[in-house]
Amino acid sequence: MKKPNPVFACLVGLSALFLLAACTDNGTGIFAGIETETALSESYIPDASSPTGVVLFGSNLYVAAGNIYTKPLEGSSNWTVFSPSQIYSGWHIKKQNGVKWYEDKSGNVINCSGIATDGTRLYLEFTVVEGNHDGDSRGLWTWTEGATAGTEILDASGTRINAQGLFAPIKAFATDPSAIFVQAGVPNSSGGFTSYSLYQVPSSGYALDSTATTPALAQSIVDVTTDGTTYWFATSSAVYESASAGSLAATFSPAPSSSTIEGIYAVRGTIYLSSRDDEIYRFTIGTSTAWANHGSYRQSGSNTLPNIHGMIAANSYSTAVPMLLVGSTTHGYFEMILPDDGAEPTLGYLKQPNASSPSTISDVTNYDTNVYNSVVRRFYCINNGTTTDVYAAGIPYSSTYGGLWKLTAATGKWDRE
């Protein structure tokens, strides 16, 4: 057999490379995009944190990210660490090597792990992350702006709860939650929890209604959503449907096949479930008889979805095209265009944000250099009086940032908070 000419072989190889090579073109050139890059803004909410709530209470924003961070909605003031002594006199800010955290008088390290508001009161969930986990520095507290002390909300028997999740489901495209729920864990001897109960948080008074507790759940609630009338509560493997927390035993049927549910969101007559098995499940209320999945919502041009965290509906930049935003555990988030009638999305692919099509963003390079560098855990919407800005809470990994990111609706650009 004749030996191939090495020159010919090289030319064939190069030609094949040109033919086989695929380009990922998101409308921004690589070199041209880098020309427009700017350095990331300095972050005030630590990159190593993973925010669990963003609310507008009065004229100030509050973020639960271990510490509570706050700043005025208007103006250019930076975030500051909220003093926990405004909640309880025995709590204070500890600072070492530029890092700030909350401690109680006994030296236990306290985290604010949840935050919600009904517009009248701020609700704060505290957990002890280092020290005596069963001590006084935990539970559910409420606070009003300007108050010098908070008040703890106890269960009906006057006992402190082990708060394990604060949920404030907001109807898609609305502003305020119609109810706030808190999950309490029943501790076991090994430091975990044997079961969980869900309570509806009262809008007045300081005691949880005993009749509102649910039968104990073996798994914790991971997310709650509402269409304004009904609530859907998701554990990692089941969905519960109820008009209130009190009748939570009514398991939603049919059950989704996923056992790794991460989030649930109801919008335009459809419930979406995100799961860690690389799927989004979809159920049209009153029509569907089974959860749809198996690739209907996979990323355009790809055979796999990223594992998914939070979801939220938000309008696209510059036009009023409603979008479902889905956080990914690899980079940033994906978008899905939602049809007005709640039907199957005709452009039903998750896609990367792209400034050249209906999208939440106006600048791909800005997206690529900001929230793309984060694993998005949850989204939060804040109405600034004119438009609704989106906040994305990140989870810190070795190569990605945690902390908080903000999409300014008026500009379609992300920035680091």
Partner: protein, 209 residues
């Protein structure tokens, strides 16, 4: 950058490309085999000889050209690192054909990393005054450029010159100076097209076999 400058660069590349035609006239043809460390050098860039080289170095993005308005633009890329593997096969005295696989990275202002993987078909002519060697070559090929989720495959041109010292009969060590030209064109978004211009310097080891 003006059209004249671009034409100048293209002319230089053309000159380098036709240089091998003169290989028979200018290639080193020592009448007696030279020695290094008392060993005779037998691999003297004759047909059938081969070279494998490995290089490490730095590259500095100098400027981009916007082909839409021919303006030079600051690339906003940091000094980067590069590595290359090359194989050459001598087809004429002093004249080799081969291929080069490289990799390079640069940081962007937002702390992203641009990765470039050039794959080139290469012609090289070796001027020699042993133990000194002066390779001059031109690489033409493709460069896979990636930043974040964006990947683009571009044309790649790389004129290159070096100086090496034959330290042993089998090994030469030295450095290369190269100029990378990466035309990156977007047919759907022509305003995003750029021609990147990058200067590279590497330290290299050549193995003759």
């Amino acid at each position: 950058m003006s059209k004249k400058t671009i034409l100048g660069i293209l002319s230089l590349m053309g000159f380098l490309a036709i240089l091998p035609a003169a290989a028979d006239e200018t290639a080193a043809k020592p009448t007696a085999l030279p020695t290094v460390e008392n060993r005779m050098i037998t691999k003297l860039f004759n047909p059938g000889d081969k070279i494998f080289s490995i290089s490490l170095g730095v590259e500095d993005p100098l400027f981009n050209i916007n082909p839409n308005n021919e303006k030079m633009i600051k690339p906003k890329l940091s000094l980067g690192g590069s590595a290359e593997l090359e194989w050459d096969f001598f087809v004429l005295p002093g004249f080799a054909l081969g291929g080069q696989l490289g990799g390079a990275f640069n940081s962007t202002p937002a702390s992203r990393t641009l990765f470039m993987v050039p794959i080139t078909f290469k012609t090289t002519y070796f001027f020699a005054s042993l133990p000194w060697e002066f390779p001059v070559g031109l690489g033409v090929g493709t460069c896979i450029d990636t930043v974040s989720d964006s990947t683009h495959v571009d044309l790649f041109f790389k004129p290159q010159a070096g100086v090496f010292y034959r330290a042993t009969p089998d090994w030469s060590f030295g450095m290369n100076l190269s100029y990378w030209i990466i035309p990156q064109f977007y047919s759907a978004h022509p305003q995003q097209s750029r021609i990147a211009n990058i200067l590279g310097v590497t330290l290299s080891g050549l193995y003759h076999f």
